[in-house]
Symmetry: C2
Subunit: 464 residues, 2 copies
């Protein structure tokens, strides 16, 4: 078979890669997407999506436990852990098939296999059904992403010492688990497993849970987790682990002293590392910074014709940021529009209560010596939250004292991850707290709390 | 006791009245709020808020019925109807107490009793504990609202022929119910009662359910209601009803023929009528239009010193619109800011799937011969919706072909009432579909569907 010539070859089929390939297809370009695992990448197959399916089951069983409050009584409550995992795999499979359908629809050549960039015009497929195929192309977009970081001193045992990847397909629910790291992934697994009765302990090296979030948000999460029975140890450093007959013996340092705990399993949720292993011919000398590819404002690497987007170009390692970057990169490559770099983006954490945020935290605003005001509104003053019996949490809005523009926003509570969007749009449009306050929000909704937080900045909230 | 002199007397303590009183308090004004029932008015005590509590119970039992899908099995499922009603009363009571607390906090004199406006400077209390009290004031704001409309030919029996008010405190769950009218209130009661096994038939005079909503939205709701077992009869006119030994015999006309049905109870949800009975001295000659008070852009009636806001000044009869108007009116009265009239506002319907909308429907856009484009995105293509097993529904965005500004937006699906806020803010800020598309939405969220609908306008959505 003759070598094929593409306008673009995308390496990686995750939120950056598949979006890039589809966008190129929309632009009428001849495009291939080479993915070594499955369309959708980590996010869709081993991250955001299946975890949300697990969390749905967790939310449901937690609701059922409280059903008496709502006038509903159930007899026995039981669950089938393997069925819960199985459903989440089904959801991931359905979504991956969706991407494969979109590839067809947009005439993207979808190639399952490991890619190797031989030079700026050639991508080889080095394993899989298409092994040996050489793709000639005018442009290459590297979107290989990241993979879960592993603590080097932990023993290897995919059933007892997991990353999120193994945890998503746990065969057996552990009776007890230590979760190392309390970022989004750590606290989501904590919520999920605790809902089904696993004894959960979170071990966090930093002085607060969800370390990237606002301090007050973290404290509220800590309180809510405590109510739920999730244990948290802050400012502790895991230093050793040993496989025992039935589980894991973990040693961590707390205030200078060693503490030993025995658990059935350990989940390490300690961030990600760049994934580019043997993907690019070394002699191309692609410029990296701490393993991440360095790109300019048009997502160009230092090698002409090779672009990169998504997690592989560095933080914040978020699927929605990756997709945005990839689409911008493709728009730039083909002159559809001037590519934009990421300015504002939300973070979203799906434990319960949910956390969502964008922009600076209050602490950061102080550090930066910004001239800012804070507006806050608690969900306990929201009729919708009280009617739905989820009145924990609050909205905190940080705005510029002079212009009223939003500098940061932090929400903890039901549906926080959906609610944050309003503030994201406001930031994108350089909107002010007055514009948010002046927008009529439907009653009764949780979103009213966002308008009230804006109003509260000037003590004009009606409901507090 | 000497007559007291106020800066403002507010007549009515609903979403317009209480917000007005609190706002005046914030401005340091001496203000009284006279309410004949309870702080919070219809919305909080007999509408939006208690109904949301009922709907929460309905959503929960519907989730429990589907729990097997999520790997959870329950034994028997039972419910206590009176406990469900009781919880909703508790929620209303808690929120009403909240308003009473806010009155105190903002130094609002809260007077429970029927008000009578003697003249532009005097409000008398004509019943209740404060009967006989005369309030002297510089300004009066009428916020008396509306009450449920009753079909005049229906017999009187608060247990079998209800409006929403009686239905909210039903003593006994009817085995079968006919709901006349399929606006928000009608379909919410339909969803609630059907969830608990009542045989529900909706009778709607118009050719579609939820007549103010977009046609496609209405059709989707009809399909979902059918799946749930809710019966709907469109283009039928109720013409007679008769109380029988155990229930009600209802006669309606369908395609020119009379149809008789027997049900345990009837709920009439056929809109509202202005409520101003004997509140204003007739010789003041307050100008009305079809019973609604006529106001200018500063919410002034034709009588100097008398203002009006909320449902009593006419459609759209929405709590959030009422609150907005009332706050604007007060800002105007005391010169805090130039009052604004309502321009854009959302509508919200809390059955399941939820419906939310703002601006024109597609049909209306055609009638007005607007130059518009439509962008649509179905929730079945949303990872979050699939993970949560609520992938029914879609987002439909109507924008100006030339400027990209939003003319109308329609959402049916989970959390539609929260999601619509993003579009409301965009409309308020005269944002375009490009600005919505260009805003990074958190993944995975339902809100991504709003960005995708914007992108779909130009065939640039990634996931369809």
């Amino acid at each position: 078979m003759a070598d094929e010539k593409y306008d673009l070859v995308v390496v990686g089929g995750g939120p950056a890669g598949y979006a890039a390939a589809i966008r190129a297809g929309q632009l009428g370009k001849k495009v291939a997407c080479v993915e070594m695992d499955r369309a959708g990448g980590t996010c869709l197959n081993w991250g955001c999506i299946p975890s949300k399916a697990l969390l749905k089951s967790a939310e449901l069983i937690n609701s059922i436990k409280k059903s008496e409050e709502f006038g509903i009584s159930v007899g026995s409550v039981d669950y089938d852990f393997s069925k819960i995992i199985q459903r989440s795999r089904g959801v991931a499979d359905q979504m991956a098939k969706g991407i494969e359908f979109l590839f067809k629809k947009n005439k993207v050549d979808y190639i399952v296999g490991k890619a190797h960039v031989d030079d700026a015009k050639t991508v080889s497929v080095v394993d899989g059904d298409s092994k040996g195929k050489k793709l000639k192309t005018d442009n290459i977009l590297l979107a290989t992403g990241c993979r879960a970081r592993r603590l080097p001193f932990l023993p290897t045992d995919p059933e007892r010492i997991m990353t999120s990847r193994e945890a998503l397909v746990m065969k057996k629910q552990p009776k007890s688990v230590a979760i190392i790291g309390s970022g989004a992934i750590g606290v989501e697994f904590a919520y999920f497993l605790n809902a089904f009765g696993t004894d959960v302990t979170i071990l966090e090296v930093m002085p607060q849970l969800v370390p990237v979030e606002d301090e007050e948000i973290a404290k509220t999460l800590g309180r809510e987790f405590k109510k739920q029975g999730i244990k948290t140890e802050l400012e502790v450093q895991v230093k050793d682990a040993e496989l025992t007959k039935d589980g894991v013996k973990l040693v961590y340092t707390k205030k200078g002293k060693d503490v030993t705990m025995e658990v059935d399993a350990v989940i390490q949720a300690v961030g990600v590392v760049a994934f580019l292993d043997n993907t690019v011919e070394p002699s191309l000398n692609l410029k990296t910074d701490r393993d991440y590819l360095v790109v300019d404002d048009s997502y160009r690497t230092n090698v002409a014709g090779i672009y990169a987007a998504g997690d592989i170009i560095g933080p914040p390692w978020l699927a929605h940021v990756a997709t945005f970057e990839a689409v911008q990169a493709v728009n730039g490559i083909f002159g559809a529009s001037k590519p934009r770099r990421v300015k504002n983006f939300p973070g979203a954490t799906y434990c319960n209560p949910q956390i969502a945020s964008t922009g600076v935290t209050e602490k950061k605003a102080k550090e930066l010596k910004l001239d800012f005001k804070v507006g806050k509104f608690p969900f306990v003053a929201s009729g919708k939250a009280v009617a739905g019996a989820h009145s924990e949490g609050f909205v905190k809005l940080i705005s510029d004292s002079k212009t009223g523009e939003i500098l940061g926003a932090h929400i903890i509570g039901r549906d926080a991850t959906e609610l944050i969007t309003e503030y994201c749009l406001a930031m994108e449009m350089e909107g002010t707290i007055d514009e948010i306050h002046g927008t009529i929000h439907a009653h009764p909704t949780l979103s009213e709390a966002l308008a009230e937080a804006a109003a509260a900045t000037h003590d004009e909230a009606i409901h507090i």
